[in-house]
């Protein structure tokens, strides 16, 4: 849009989106009240019946899950939240289309035109600046404003002003600018803050940079049942983490808290392929925060989600490092047993059964023998590997190439790190989310 023209009113799609969010929030608040009353009554019954807090921790998540499954009103509200999310995405899509129509350079020149469009379009330029300031604030935990104010105050003091007063004046300017950005460019500022937090999280990944490595090419990929099992494990970790945080606060969380944490665990598991526990902790923490806000009828707080992501990432990275280091430092026999244990779990999840006896030699076309670690009831021969240095031998390669029932499981220390780091990261985020309430 050329300079000098009046700014257009906000797109109708944005108003529709805001109205839908407000409706969903009201509906979710009503459903949350009903669920809370039901859960409070259940809690009283449990508290009368149970003395051991460990039993309470075991029962409460189960009761919460049962409520989720059986309560049609909660399911309806969750569906409404998802639908509103879809509407928001559609509204944003319409906004993008409108931006492209107003700035045809973006269509003809693509990303390369962005700097030109931003420089010549005052509205877009201001949004970009707001986003940049948001990123700086998030990345520096707000210290960037102080540093800038301090530097400017020194300049002012050199010109004759009182240093203390100059710093206070400069800080007030920075705060006023932040308030203006939050009021006039909330989306751009939030996107910038998220970007800044993402930068902090990216710096955390190297904390667990130990014992990483590539999986051998012949390793059997995860099948659908295993992916579903991982999702279920993530949900279980989320419920367990919420229960632990409830225990530590000695306060039972709401149905929405448990549901949010469970789905946070599922979201964290989607990053399993990266083996990055810091990433898993951040995704699970942010997801848990956003969903707990939605399910509990609270305004969705991007700031809380960012904080939960950063906390989840920090502790996820530490847990990931411990898991990687400890598993990598096991001796050869221990690593072999760990790898075989993982293989037994994979076989079980695939709906098969590991036979109790060790298989004997298996004759190959070359007349040499191969000695798989396990044989399953369905006749699968399983070769288990653990560690970055594991490769296939000549005989194992021949078996992989010639036998259709040969499966290679290659477990790495980063897998153990992920399994440790994800629940630790999500637990830390849950504890923080508990404290903010």
């Amino acid at each position: 849009m050329a300079g000098g023209q009046q700014s257009r009113p906000r797109a109708s799609g944005w108003d529709q989106f805001r109205a839908r969010v407000a409706q969903a929030e009201a509906d979710a608040r009503r459903a949350a009240q009903q669920a809370t009353q039901t859960l409070a009554a259940a809690r009283q019954r449990v508290e009368r019946a149970v003395v051991d807090p460990r039993v309470l921790a075991a029962v409460a998540p189960g009761a919460a899950i049962a409520q989720i499954i059986r309560n049609p009103e909660v399911k309806r509200q969750a569906t409404a939240v998802v639908r509103n999310g879809q509407s928001a995405v559609q509204a944003m899509g319409r906004g993008v289309v409108q931006t492209l129509v107003e700035n045809p350079l973006l269509i003809t020149n693509g990303v390369a035109a962005v700097p030109t469009v931003v420089a010549t379009n005052p509205k877009m330029r201001n949004q970009a600046l707001a986003g940049g300031r948001g990123a700086q604030d998030a990345f520096t935990f707000g210290l960037g404003d102080r540093v800038y104010a301090g530097g400017s105050a020194l300049y002012d003091a050199a010109s004759g002003k009182d240093l203390g007063q100059a710093y206070r004046d400069r800080m007030e300017i920075e705060r006023e600018r932040d308030r203006y950005d939050a009021e006039h460019y909330p989306v751009a500022r939030t996107v910038g803050q998220v970007t800044g937090t993402a930068g902090q999280i990216a710096l955390l990944s190297p904390v667990q940079a130990i014992a990483g490595g590539a999986r051998i090419a012949q390793a059997a990929p995860l099948v659908g049942r295993e992916i579903m099992a991982l999702g279920a494990a993530g949900a279980t970790a989320g419920v367990a983490d919420q229960a632990v945080s409830d225990l530590m606060a000695w306060e039972l969380g709401s149905l929405g808290d448990y549901a949010g944490s469970a789905l946070g665990g599922v979201a964290g598991v989607t990053t399993a392929k990266t083996g990055n526990a810091a990433l898993a902790g951040s995704v699970s923490g942010a997801t848990a925060s956003l969903l707990q806000d939605a399910f509990n009828g609270r305004p969705i707080s991007a700031d809380d989600a960012r904080a939960a992501a950063l906390i989840g990432s920090s502790f996820g990275a530490l847990g990931g490092r411990v898991g990687r280091k400890e598993s990598n430092e096991l001796n050869g026999l221990q690593k072999q047993r760990l790898g075989e244990w993982v293989s037994r779990q994979r076989t079980f999840v695939r709906g098969d059964e590991t036979l109790p006896h060790d298989p004997t030699a298996y004759k190959l076309p070359s007349q040499r023998n191969t000695y798989p670690d396990q044989r399953t009831r369905r006749g699968i021969l399983v070769e288990s590997k653990f560690g970055r240095g594991a490769r296939l031998s000549r005989n194992q390669t021949e078996a992989a190439e010639t036998l259709s029932n040969y499966r290679v499981d290659a477990t790495l220390p980063q897998d153990i790190g992920f399994a440790v780091g994800l629940p630790v990261g999500l637990l830390s985020a849950d504890l923080w989310l508990h404290g903010r309430e």
């Binding site: 001796n331 050869g332 072999q336 075989e340 240095g389």
Partner: protein, 191 residues
């Protein structure tokens, strides 16, 4: 239980004195080499060597081979293909090391091979398996260099596990085997 085992072959001593030196006794049974941990097996070869096999990687270590070499020429072999593709072949005579060939899959060097002394056929085997490793091993995540110590040991005494079909007899330590450790005891026990 996968391939994480060891064996020692001795020439110039009969089976009875060899088992006595190891403090083993025969059980009178024959069996497969993979049933249970730990298990020991013994086989007298037509070429004069007697092989004692163990499902335990640490059993036929160089110290044991040196000790047994006081009774006759001894060759030992340790190998695993589960974790780091470690393979070691070791020969001794009269209590002294004669040669040694060692490989482990070092991530920085897939062709790591430590050789001391003059093992049989080692240069010929290096040429063959290094070429295979360069041509396809590195690209396909296969360790061909792991084969070299096994082939050297076979050249010395004629025995290689995965090519042998002969009958082995179960032997055991005099007084029985130590109790089996549980999974967590072995996983988190002494390293």
């Amino acid at each position: 239980m996968g391939l994480m085992c060891s064996w020692v072959a001795v020439r110039g001593v009969a089976k009875g004195p060899l088992l006595e030196a190891l403090q083993f006794e025969e059980t009178g049974e024959q069996g497969d080499l993979w049933k249970g941990i730990p298990k020991y097996f013994c086989s007298e070869r037509p070429n004069g060597w007697t092989v004692v096999f163990s499902n335990h990687f640490e059993w036929a270590n160089p110290a044991r081979v040196l000790e047994l070499s006081r009774h006759g020429e001894a060759v030992g072999c340790q190998f695993e293909d589960k974790v780091e593709m470690t393979s070691l072949a070791f020969a001794a005579r009269d209590g002294e090391e004669v040669w040694r060939v060692f490989h482990v899959n070092d991530e920085k060097n897939s062709k790591r091979l430590d050789v001391t002394g003059d093992p049989p056929r080692v240069e010929e085997l290096k040429a063959e398996f290094f070429k295979l490793q360069e041509e396809k091993g590195d690209a396909e995540d296969v360790d061909y260099v792991h084969e070299i110590p096994l082939e050297v040991a076979k050249s010395a005494c004629g025995y290689r596990l995965d090519e042998d079909e002969s009958t082995f007899h179960i032997v055991q330590p005099i007084g029985g085997e130590p109790p089996k450790r549980g999974f967590f005891a072995s996983l988190f026990g002494r390293r």
